[in-house]
């Protein structure tokens, strides 16, 4: 390990597709819930109660453990105004923090620009997964997107040292020369050089890492293990981003949702354990969000797109517990007669993370003042 990672770091986990918040934190004693969810329902004997009204889906047992240890903050009823229930518009809004117009700059890309204004470290922001999410994209701000940590970089497959060195030198020459030859070639040239510097920094990551934590074999566990490996190498990354897909449970939800719960809860708790083992858990905050919740009523097999949902903040530095109120389940209070109403604006949570984790001024990024919460230990 080169340096001990000491700066506060944010890890964002995007649960893509619209997680069913009601079947994650289940209002297991509420009659309205059972009235609305005839089939796609989690029964009282399938929850791990956290109080007399709410219980964590039993498939997410590691979340119950984190909750009991005070490392999990549950944000109830988060959302954005005037949802049109589109995944794309929804994700766009979450990525750019702009519900009123189509934004182009990602909220975390803007944070990277603030954290590293001279673009000195291409690893200040790291995405783990295929394709850079818009949340991390701002023109001119280099962030590293790692589809495959072992395969990151170029000319990886050349084994002979002399040839590999020459190949890298040639690549660097070709991409370097492109800078200044026109806007697009310029951009691609710079990106090529960023790949080289990122790859140099990431090259040692695999060798440096040792852990007794055994992550499960699934995509989100693999991604968070990669986050741990990079973070523990002390390369100066302040923002990590990764996605876990499959939450768009229109059909067969009772077959598919349990595995998502198992995988994501296991991956996050293993990740935190891994940091703990390395004495690196004090400064890492995990934020898990989804673009929207699901409809109150099920459709017999799954649930359709809804609005208000929930988000989660995890970490040793977190003041665990419930934040906000569980949205009212009374049909009289439903939005558009079928949805949970949100009452926490997601921009307030972004502001909380930007200012309380990253020490970045939130106002220019979320475009205004939104009420923050205090989910961290003093």
């Amino acid at each position: 390990m080169t340096t001990k990672p000491s700066e506060k770091t944010l890890v964002v986990v995007q649960m893509t597709g619209g997680n069913d918040f009601m079947n994650t934190l289940v209002p297991y004693t509420n009659g309205h819930y059972y009235d609305a969810r005839k089939k796609v329902v989690i029964r009282e004997n399938q929850v791990l109660p956290i109080n007399d009204e709410l219980g964590i889906n039993e498939n997410a047992a590691p979340f119950k453990r984190l909750y009991d240890e005070g490392k999990m903050a549950i944000i109830q009823g988060i959302g954005y105004p005037d949802s049109n229930r589109s995944h794309f518009r929804g994700m766009d809004i979450w990525h750019t923090a702009e519900p009123d117009r189509v934004g182009s700059e990602g909220w975390l890309g803007q944070a990277v620009r603030e954290l590293d204004p001279k673009a000195e470290n291409v690893l200040t922001g790291v995405n783990i997964g295929a394709g850079l999410p818009r949340a991390m994209a701002v023109t001119g701000v280099p962030v590293t997107s790692v589809g495959d940590l072992e395969g990151y970089g170029v000319m990886n497959r050349i084994e002979q040292d002399r040839l590999k060195n020459k190949a890298l030198e040639t690549f660097k020459g070709i991409y370097g020369q492109a800078i200044g030859t026109g806007p697009v070639a310029d951009y691609i040239g710079q990106t090529g050089l960023d790949v080289l510097s990122g790859a140099d920094l990431l090259a040692e990551v695999a060798d440096n890492y040792e852990s007794t934590v055994e992550y499960a074999e699934n995509p989100i566990a693999k991604s968070l293990r990669d986050v741990a490996r990079i973070h523990l190498s002390g390369l100066g990354t302040r923002i990590f981003y990764t996605q876990h897909g499959g939450y768009d449970t229109h059909a067969n939800e009772l077959a598919g949702h349990p595995k998502l719960m198992t995988d994501v809860s296991g991956a996050i708790s293993d990740f935190l354990d891994d940091l703990e083992e390395h004495g690196a858990s004090d400064n890492v905050t995990v934020f898990a969000f989804t673009e929207f919740g699901r409809r109150m009523r099920d459709n017999g097999s799954g649930t359709d797109h809804g609005t208000g949902g929930g988000a989660f903040i995890y970490g040793k530095n977190v003041q665990g517990g419930l934040y906000g109120q569980y949205p009212s389940l009374d049909p009289a209070d439903w939005e558009h007669g079928e949805d949970l109403k949100h009452h926490i604006d997601f921009r307030g949570i972004y502001a909380t993370l930007l200012e309380q984790v990253l020490d970045v001024e939130a106002r220019p990024i979320v475009k205004g003042e939104y009420e923050q919460i205090s989910p961290f230990r003093a």
Binding site: S145, T170, F171, I174, V184, N218, P219
Partner: protein, 468 residues
Amino acid sequence: MKSDRALVAHLMRRAGFGATPAELDTLAQEQTYEDIVEDLVNPERFEELDEAYIDRYYSGEPVALHVGKWLYRMVNTRRPLEEKMALFLHHIFPVAWGKSEHGPSLYTEIAMFRRVGLMDMKTILLELSRDPAMIFWLDNNENHKDEINENYGRELLELFSMGVGNYTEDDIKAASRAFTGWTFRQPLSLYPNGHYPAEFEFLEDDHDYDSKTFLGETGDFDGEDIIDIIVKQPATARFVSRHLYNFFVEDELQVPSWKTEPAKNEDAIAQLSKVFLETGGDMRAVLKEMFNSDWFKAATSFKKVKSPTELIAGVLKQTGEFSYPVPGIQNFAITSLNGSLVEGPLAIMGQRLMNPPTVEGWHTGHEWIDSGTLSERVGFVERQFEDLSKPGVKDMVDRVGSLDDDPSQLVDRCLDLLGSINVSEQTYDSLVAYAKELSSIENDDVEGSVGVHNLLQMTASTVDYQFE
């Protein structure tokens, strides 16, 4: 030589997915450029691929397999423009299986694009409006006489034909009313038969037969009447022409800015729009005008970024690995690693074919490139060109010659073989220096792993190779 080899290479890249060195030899020797254009816009002159033959080797329902089959078609079709137009329509009428009733409705949609892509705009929009995948994607099955759902009506005008600023909210409502009752049905029950493609269905009882006013015209319009009115609008001619220019000629700004930003070549757009209006939006006529224009021929020097599909299909055409339906083509979409399914190079490069991110489609041009996607682009060509047992790779290596040859000639041949690529002078010099170095390394190489393929890999890793 009847035509210029480099120009034909450019045409075949833009109007299709490139050509092998042997194909280019034949085309340039035997046909004039204009004749080649005629062949491209008249695909029925050539035999179609045998669907049953492809299905025999690539059978099953997974989306990845269908993406693989589509790549197979791109690589092997004798009607390249037909396949390229299907991709074009998938870009501008993007439907994702992530919200499709079931896979087959998406596959039949792509087959429909292939069938109508070179017809007239009325047929294209009519088929689109009757397409089950599109109906479900934009909720037209929820568009009822008593309760209209504007999703399809809005996107038809905003994204599929005219562009924002050319109609009012009332026009959207009128168009939506005209499409009430346009829905689909399942010919066989889903269980226990499995998935069968859905079929268009018109529900007379659910159609609004009242009078409507749309773009200044009033009548008892149904969806077809609306499309007739749309197709004769100059705004439609311009919007579609800009899309064609953006896809085939030169990267434009992203579509939402078109309302305010002028086209890069206004004269070209005017020229295409004129043909569009004169021919009722006949795609053959418009494309023929485009391919034969001086500005298209000059576009060899434009920096148009290859989409991941263009890059991958182009490389696969060159390697020849899939000139027969051998197993594994679905791995370019989804592949398995250590027992779990992971996304393949198409997705890692940012284009999940048949699963576009939004109804706006993919952001193209330089937005295809970030550090992760570029890393994968370079890694992909490295992997594809290292295996000399692939017939296309072997052929190219044979054509390049020996590393003992003059290094400039070696580089010239590589550039030519990979599609007459234009590179900057500095890149050219770097490649020549690399060729020299390779020759010296080869002489000291005991394992015999260094060779001409390394130069091909490097040539395909350049900045210039990222451009069409």
